[in-house]
């Protein structure tokens, strides 16, 4: 049977290489017959192997190709074309195989015939411009309804035919598998979902035990070998979601909620709390939340708040992930000069000791962000010396244990955002005590732009230099870096489900 596979924002060659790997593992001796055309992948597969396609991670939809007719084989006049198409859909389509494939995917549909039919048609190009799409859909629908003796239902038909007619060919498809809740199509967010996912992944990764802290063999390896090792061994699936300490993640400038959507969709035990000072942005995030399945939506909580005087309970957040205003669409560079330091110091307040923040800014605001993070350290020193010289008085106060935690830069990674250069900056909140659970540079970045020595670690305490390190890749990234973020993100989605059920006996 001929199949057609499509995906949102994924090049056909990536879908093709995933399919080749899958087909090779299923039957190593049979050659895999596939072709990339018009951004889609055409695959020849036996009906029994279609269910295996649910294991793929990239495709969003799998269709059965009912009919392909090259344009030059179609007759000349409109009326003749319509008659020919009506004849072909009844006589030339192997409907028996289509019903077998549907039955293979959902056993309750086996040996059934459709109770209703619906057709959508799209006509494009010059040659057939005198045939309206609706007329094409209408005639195919009428022919099929007569052929199968079933009713026409455009809303939720059991037999769902997609027709497309253009200068090259006539193509008829029937959906077999679809990805559940592809909320991307129902939400509107400002940031690319894969960039938001990558930042959330950093936060989740930092808050879970690193590979080498779990595995004594890895710990024994020389430091310089670690980036290489990590690149070759993809982290086991359990580790990606295993994060005993990252339970609550806060976005204090959530906007439309890009990070929150990724958090609750990809990490099933995380509570995502988002706030924004603008009521309209919170309303937008709320609309986006409505597109999520109920099990994810209940873990996404929203409130209105000022990011500089944040109402989150101090030290209660395991991680903070946020996108700071670039001073273009929101705010200005002048406003940022006062906003960044207060927002960053507020982030330091709400993070628990050892907790991490993953922040996004652009090139023009990078220095300001680095200085704002450094400033939290200076504030803490001032605070702590004031505390020590005055300790009798302070110690008696009930809140005196809440010393503001200084933020320490761990690393930063450049990320192109359209025409802009963005920077993902990772910092952690330090605790007063020697904190072995707090993440270190080796757990975050790989392929340093600077030689190891210039990272200037202080060996006694494991502290980093104040500027953090510039890294080319994060530790969880594969060799191809950002190019594979989208496919890595999609690997954690739910498997595809049958796109149609037949109920009529």
């Amino acid at each position: 049977m001929q199949l057609l596979l499509t995906a949102h924002n994924v090049p056909a060659r990536k879908i093709a290489s995933e399919l080749r790997r899958l087909m090779l593992s299923l039957s190593p001796s049979t050659p895999c017959l596939l072709e990339e055309r018009d951004g889609c992948v055409h695959l020849h597969a036996s009906i029994h192997s279609i269910a295996q396609l649910r294991q793929t991670t990239l495709p969003d939809r799998v269709y059965a190709v009912l009919l392909t007719v090259p344009a030059e084989q179609l007759p000349n006049t409109d009326a003749e074309i319509i008659d020919e198409v009506k004849r072909l859909v009844c006589d030339a389509v192997d409907w028996q195989s289509v019903f077998e494939a549907v039955g293979e995917l959902s056993p309750q549909s086996a040996d059934r015939r459709p109770a209703s039919v619906g057709v959508t048609a799209k006509r494009a190009g010059k040659r057939f411009s005198s045939i309206p799409s609706q007329a094409l859909a209408g005639s195919i629908g009428a022919a099929l309804s007569k052929h199968f003796g079933c009713r026409v239902d455009l809303r939720s038909p059991e037999l769902d035919v997609h027709a497309s007619l253009n200068d090259d060919r006539l193509l008829l498809l029937h959906p077999l598998l679809r990805r559940p809740s592809t909320y991307e199509s129902k939400t509107s967010v400002g940031l690319h979902p894969h960039v938001a996912w990558a930042m959330v992944k950093c936060a989740a990764q930092l808050s879970c035990p690193s590979l080498h802290s779990l595995h004594p063999l890895l710990r024994a390896l020389p430091h310089a070998a670690l980036p290489l090792i990590h690149a070759q061994i993809p982290p086991p699936r359990c580790l990606m979601s295993f994060s005993p300490s990252a339970s609550i993640v806060v976005d204090p400038m959530c906007g439309s909620g890009s990070f929150l959507l990724e958090l609750v969709s990809g990490w099933p035990s995380v509570l995502a709390m988002g706030s924004d000072a603008s009521a309209s942005q919170v309303a937008l995030a709320r609309r986006n939340r409505a597109a999520l399945p109920a099990s994810s939506a209940s873990r996404l909580q929203l409130f209105e708040a000022d990011s500089c005087r944040h109402p989150f309970r101090r030290g209660a957040a395991d991680a903070v992930v946020t996108d700071l205003p670039f001073g273009k669409q929101h705010g200005s560079l002048a406003e940022n000069a006062s906003l960044y330091p207060s927002a960053v110091s507020s982030i330091a307040d709400i993070l628990r000791p050892g907790g991490c923040c993953v922040l996004l800014t652009n090139e023009s605001n990078l220095q300001l962000l680095i200085e704002s993070i450094r400033a939290t350290h200076k504030q803490a020193i001032l605070y702590s010396s004031a505390f020590e010289s005055n300790n009798l008085k302070s110690a008696a106060e009930p809140g005196s244990s809440e010393r503001p935690g200084p933020l320490r830069l761990i690393c930063r990674r450049q990320v192109p955002l359209g025409f802009m250069t963005g920077w993902i900056v990772v910092a952690r909140r330090e605790s007063g005590d020697a904190d072995t659970s707090a993440p270190q540079l080796d757990e975050v970045g790989a392929e340093f732009d600077y030689p190891q020595d210039s990272v200037s670690k202080n060996d006694d305490e494991g502290h980093l230099s104040e500027d953090g390190a510039v890294v080319r890749r994060f530790l969880w990234e594969s060799q191809s870096g950002r190019a594979s973020w989208d496919s890595q993100r999609k690997a954690s989605r739910l498997p595809m489900e049958p796109a149609c059920l037949l109920t009529h006996v």
Binding site: I248, S269, L271, A279, Q301, F303, E304, D306
Partner: protein, 116 residues
């Protein structure tokens, strides 16, 4: 606003502005999928005495929570289900949050608290 959100919020710029008192104008009980692993992880993050105090103040919510978190809470399904109900299935739709330190009021509209 769900009570899990309430348990994480304090009056901004204050030292002792936690927990905020709740003045309810309209409250709904909604249904949410029970995810025991998630609820068990929230236990460590909650300020449990503050939650009990809040639940006691909302006469409409049944007080099925024990006075202390059970020792083996992760395996205690009855406890996790009661906690799940209190944290995720009670929605304050309209009302206000009141700061215990300054008595300042923060409105809740259509389920969204405004802490500005």
């Amino acid at each position: 606003m769900k009570l899990i959100t309430h348990n994480m919020l304090m009056s901004p710029g204050t030292r002792n502005g936690f927990p905020l008192a709740i003045e309810v104008e309209s409250l709904e009980e909604v249904e949410a999928d029970f995810n025991p692993e998630f609820i068990a992880r929230m236990v460590e993050k909650l300020d449990y005495p503050a939650l009990l105090q809040t639940v006691a103040s909302l006469s409409v919510v049944e007080g099925t929570l024990p006075p202390q978190v059970p020792e083996k809470y992760a395996e205690d399904e009855e406890f996790l289900k009661a906690l799940h109900h209190v944290l995720l299935e009670v929605e304050i739709v309209e009302g206000s949050l009141v700061c215990p330190e300054t008595a300042r009021k923060f409105p809740i509209k259509e389920g969204i608290p405004s802490m500005l």
